[in-house]
């Protein structure tokens, strides 16, 4: 159990130190390693690609850019970036096994974990995980050899983007 919590705790500490800092070239490298996934800058896409050891395909639409990372295992992660803010406002995943949600959800892993454990404590039984909070929506489901889901930050959706597009 300790191990499940060490990572996000360290991640938060590192970020709170780094955020206000002046970003030198060296700092940028560090921040790319630390900042990845939902809510983070478009530059973190490359860090995610490196961590997943995957290939990257980018497609552009009028209101956002989708960076699709495909790992050798076939797990696909799509990161949706707003051109206005340069931030990843949504992620979606699909594969035989889930991606590492600590990486995909970045700073949002902690609230995700909190909500998931609250639900796990509420009920025994296997089922999808749906989190619908003011600042975070996560939908995660599937079964052995087939996991899918998506997460987005409602306030960060570019104007006119329907949530159905995130998949």
């Amino acid at each position: 159990m300790n191990e499940t919590r060490i990572f996000p705790r360290l991640g938060r500490a590192a970020r709170s130190v780094l955020r206000p800092a002046i970003i030198s070239a060296a700092m940028l490298m560090i921040s790319i390693q630390a900042f990845a996934g939902l809510g983070e800058n478009v530059s973190s896409v490359l860090a995610d690609q490196a961590r997943m050891q995957g290939s990257l395909r980018t497609t552009q639409s009028a209101s956002y850019t989708v960076h699709e990372i495909t790992a050798a295992s076939g797990v696909v992660v799509r990161e949706y970036v707003s051109p206005a803010t340069g931030k990843i406002f949504a992620v979606a995943w699909q594969g035989s096994w889930p991606p590492d949600m600590r990486q995909v959800l970045a700073d949002y892993f902690a609230p995700y974990q909190q909500a998931a454990q609250a639900q796990a404590n509420l009920h025994a039984g296997r089922r999808p995980l749906l989190i619908n909070q003011a600042g975070l929506v996560v939908e995660s489901g599937g079964h052995m050899r087939s996991f899918t889901g998506r997460a987005y930050i409602p306030d960060m959706l570019p104007e006119g983007v329907k949530t159905e597009a995130i998949r």
Binding site: P98, R127, P128, G141, G149
Partner: protein, 419 residues
């Protein structure tokens, strides 16, 4: 205290509430007139309910739907499994094992085991452990070997997972360490004494776990665990945690789950887990429609004019789970739906390539109004926008066949579901 969460809390406390009649069968004008979904206003219920006597035979195990060994489960089907030290008559029968067509492999809570099971070792002699992620929660622990007996079926030297959080340190890089739900390592938080995965596959992971580890190809579920800590390994198919059915000496091409229809909430339900498809006089297809399943264990469900390509039948899911933004989720518990009145809905299932197709009628009750019973045929909740998860309520009143990948049956080669 209302609602599904209150219901479970009450069950844990051991104080059962009064049974109240649910709103099934009372289809209001609002529900029929709401008409986004109501298709079966004239007649509800399962289209294939069976009243035949339960099968008997050496390939039949009893299934019981109840609150389970922890008393906290809704819509869980449990059976007994006997595990033996391989090649000996030193055996132990464990009841309260959840029967799960959505996974493959036998997983047992370590503290309940009294028989000695040999540890599986990697080629260098280090013990092997597995991390198995579910959507919410995971199981972690050593891979050991057991002879497995259910009904009169036997499988020798089956790799099984012994769920034990502390046997070896969980690697911080594993998918389990990144799972949001935490470990399912006790009877209480698993809701069962173990899980027997009798799903579409012979192994839990398959070919991907036999590829070189730590390179992005292998999901890194299997580890060798020397004292220094666990590192990911390639695990061959024969070493992987196996669906015990696939290793039975007979009746090894799949299973049938047979449960009676329900007319409302019930305290328990008894049915059968039948081994083999078309191998005995009691396990023929009997005209059931065969729906081919893809290599990821999915077929198609069409619902509300949306095609859900990652849909599945899963006795281990405890409700119907599907996306419908028009149905209110419960205020106190976002895992379930709470419509104003019971909804009668319909969906169409199809094989993964589009054929055959068949309509399924089902009902969704207000979860807050359901009584404190473990058999709830109208329990439903929201899901992702990718798939329709047909949980145990789908199995009530049906014979549901799960054919294992690569195994031949009179209905063709698995994987498929038939009902």
């Amino acid at each position: 205290m209302k609602g599904a969460c209150a219901r479970v809390r009450k069950m844990i406390d051991g104080c059962r509430i009064e049974r109240t009649p649910i709103k099934n069968g009372v289809l209001t004008a609002a529900a029929c007139g709401g008409l986004l979904f109501a298709v079966a206003c004239g007649g509800t219920g399962s289209s294939t309910s069976t009243q035949t006597p339960p099968p008997t035979g050496s390939n039949v195990a009893t299934l019981t739907v109840n609150a389970g060994p922890a008393g906290n489960y809704a819509n869980g089907a449990f059976t007994s499994v006997t595990v033996c030290t391989p090649g000996t008559s030193t055996c132990q029968t464990i009841d309260g094992i959840l029967v799960d067509t959505g996974s493959s492999g036998l997983r047992l809570i370590s503290s309940l085991l009294t028989v000695s099971l040999p540890q599986q070792n990697y080629s260098d002699g280090n013990p092997v452990a597995e991390c198995l992620p579910f959507v919410i929660g995971y199981t972690w622990g050593p891979v050991q070997t057991a002879d497995v007996e259910i009904a009169s079926e036997k499988a020798s030297s089956v790799p099984v997972q012994v769920i034990n959080q502390s046997a070896y340190p969980l690697p911080s890089t594993s998918l389990c360490a990144g799972n949001p739900g935490g470990p399912a390592d006790t009877v209480g938080n698993l809701g069962a004494n173990g899980i027997i995965g009798v799903g579409s596959f012979a192994q839990d992971c398959g070919g991907a776990c036999a590829l070189p580890p730590s390179g992005g190809q292998n999901p890194d579920l299997y580890y060798e665990c020397p004292h220094a800590g666990c590192t990911a390994i390639a695990e061959s198919l024969t070493q992987q945690v196996a669906n015990p059915v696939s290793l039975f000496s007979a009746d090894n091409n799949g299973v049938i789950i047979e449960l009676p229809a329900v007319s409302g909430p019930e305290a328990s339900l008894t049915g059968s887990l039948v081994f083999g498809i078309g191998t005995q006089s009691n396990n023929g297809l009997n005209g059931a429609t065969v729906y081919p399943v893809d290599d990821n264990g999915n077929f198609i469900t069409n619902f509300n004019n949306v095609q859900y390509g990652e849909s599945f039948l899963d006795s281990g899911s405890n409700a119907f789970f599907f996306s419908d933004p028009a149905i209110a989720v419960c205020g106190d518990d976002t895992a379930f739906y709470c419509p104003n009145s019971t909804l009668n809905l319909a969906a169409t299932n199809a094989g993964y390539a589009g054929t055959p197709t068949g309509t399924v009628n089902f009902s969704v009750a207000n979860a807050d109004d359901l009584p404190n019973d473990p058999v709830l045929g109208q329990l439903a909740g929201p899901n992702t926008i990718n798939g329709f998860d047909w949980g145990l309520p789908f199995f009530y009143g049906r014979h549901v066949y799960t054919a294992i990948q690569g195994k031949s049956t009179p209905g063709g080669t698995g994987p498929y579901w038939a009902y």
